[in-house]
């Protein structure tokens, strides 16, 4: 094999590997979206909302220690509300988009955000 052919082959191989890795990285990012927490440990009530930082997500999840919670995003305060403390409230919005997640308690009594996540 000539020197030029070897160079071409090396170039093609490198380009192929780069393409392959990019494709696999994009695929795995979509298939296993990481859970990103927000507002963990914060006190909330029905007049005290906690907002997370804007991020790209499809699902939102929230749970309060003592009272039910409503999870929402942007200006939508409640896309899912649980009725009692310890219950998990999920909502899938069917598509990924950059949104600001939020969680609020359903009672005047304070509750702590046990876990709130987007994914």
């Amino acid at each position: 094999m000539t020197h030029t052919s070897m160079q071409r082959l090396a170039l093609l191989l490198t380009a192929s590997l780069v393409t392959l890795f990019v494709a696999l990285a994009l695929t795995s990012a979509r298939a296993s979206a990481a859970k990103i927490p927000f507002c963990g440990g914060q006190l909330i009530s029905n007049v005290q909302t906690c907002f997370g930082a804007p991020r790209n997500f499809e699902w939102i999840l929230g749970r309060g220690t003592k009272t039910g919670v409503c999870v929402g995003y942007n200006e939508v305060a409640a896309v899912a509300c649980s009725s009692n403390g310890g219950e998990l409230a999920y909502n899938t919005l069917w598509s990924y988009a950059v949104r600001t997640p939020r969680i609020v308690g359903i009672s005047p009594n304070h509750s702590t955000v046990e876990n709130a996540e987007t994914f």
């Binding site: 093609l12 009725s83 403390g85 310890g86 919005l93 005047p108």
Partner: protein
């Protein structure tokens, strides 16, 4: 020289084939077909409840009937790993209110899946089975103030309760609304613009 050219083409063909194969494989994992279970070799199957537990069936009449399963348009949410609900075990909660509700058992959890008009997406509210036996599980939907004229219902609460529950007391800002439990289901629809503070169950015997 001829030998070099043939080798070059063979290498290029092999690489193109490799790339195509890798591309097809990655497309397959990004868009799973709901109708076909994934082969065990590619990814472990998600953990889901195979059948309601004895305690779930014992306490909730809905779970003692043949499950309808979630419709395809709703079950496309896939899985919820923390609670391991099985969409095939979903029982429709028949209520005369807008939207559709299902009781879906999970491993140690009972969930209400709801598809309600004017509410984006699908909501899933899950309580531990033991908690559901004590307090029931309720899913609350609130209509946005601008979409609900004064006097029209703005709050909709659909809940499930164990067989021995007679009424659900819905506490909201110091007031209490009573919702009868019928066939393990209670519904409250009113003009309150806030979720309930908590729910309390009254039993057939005792409190």
């Amino acid at each position: 020289m001829i030998t070099t050219t043939v080798s070059w083409r063979a290498c290029a063909s092999s690489l193109v084939t490799l790339l195509l194969a890798a591309g097809l494989a990655s497309c397959g994992s990004a868009t799973p077909d709901d109708a076909e279970p994934r082969p065990a070799s590619t990814q472990p199957a998600p953990r889901v409840l195979e059948r309601p537990s004895r305690i779930q069936r014992h306490n909730f009449a809905l779970l003692r009937t043949r499950p309808e399963g979630l419709p395809a348009r709703v079950r496309r949410f896939g899985t919820v790993p923390e609670v391991a609900i099985n969409p095939a075990l979903a029982q429709q909660i028949h209520v005369n209110v807008p939207g559709n509700y299902w009781l879906v058992p999970g491993i140690g959890y009972l969930c209400i899946v709801s598809d309600v008009p004017e509410t984006p997406g699908i909501a899933i509210i899950c309580g531990r089975t033991q908690q559901a036996i004590k307090q029931g599980v309720g899913s609350i939907s609130l209509t946005l103030a601008k979409q609900a004229p004064a006097g029209m219902p703005t709050r909709l609460l659909v809940g499930i309760a164990p067989d021995d529950a007679r009424t659900a007391l819905v506490h909201t800002k110091g007031s209490v609304a009573t919702a009868p439990v019928v066939n393990g289901v209670f519904v409250l629809r009113d003009s309150v613009r806030a979720p309930s503070d908590f729910i309390e169950l009254r039993r057939i015997r005792g409190n």
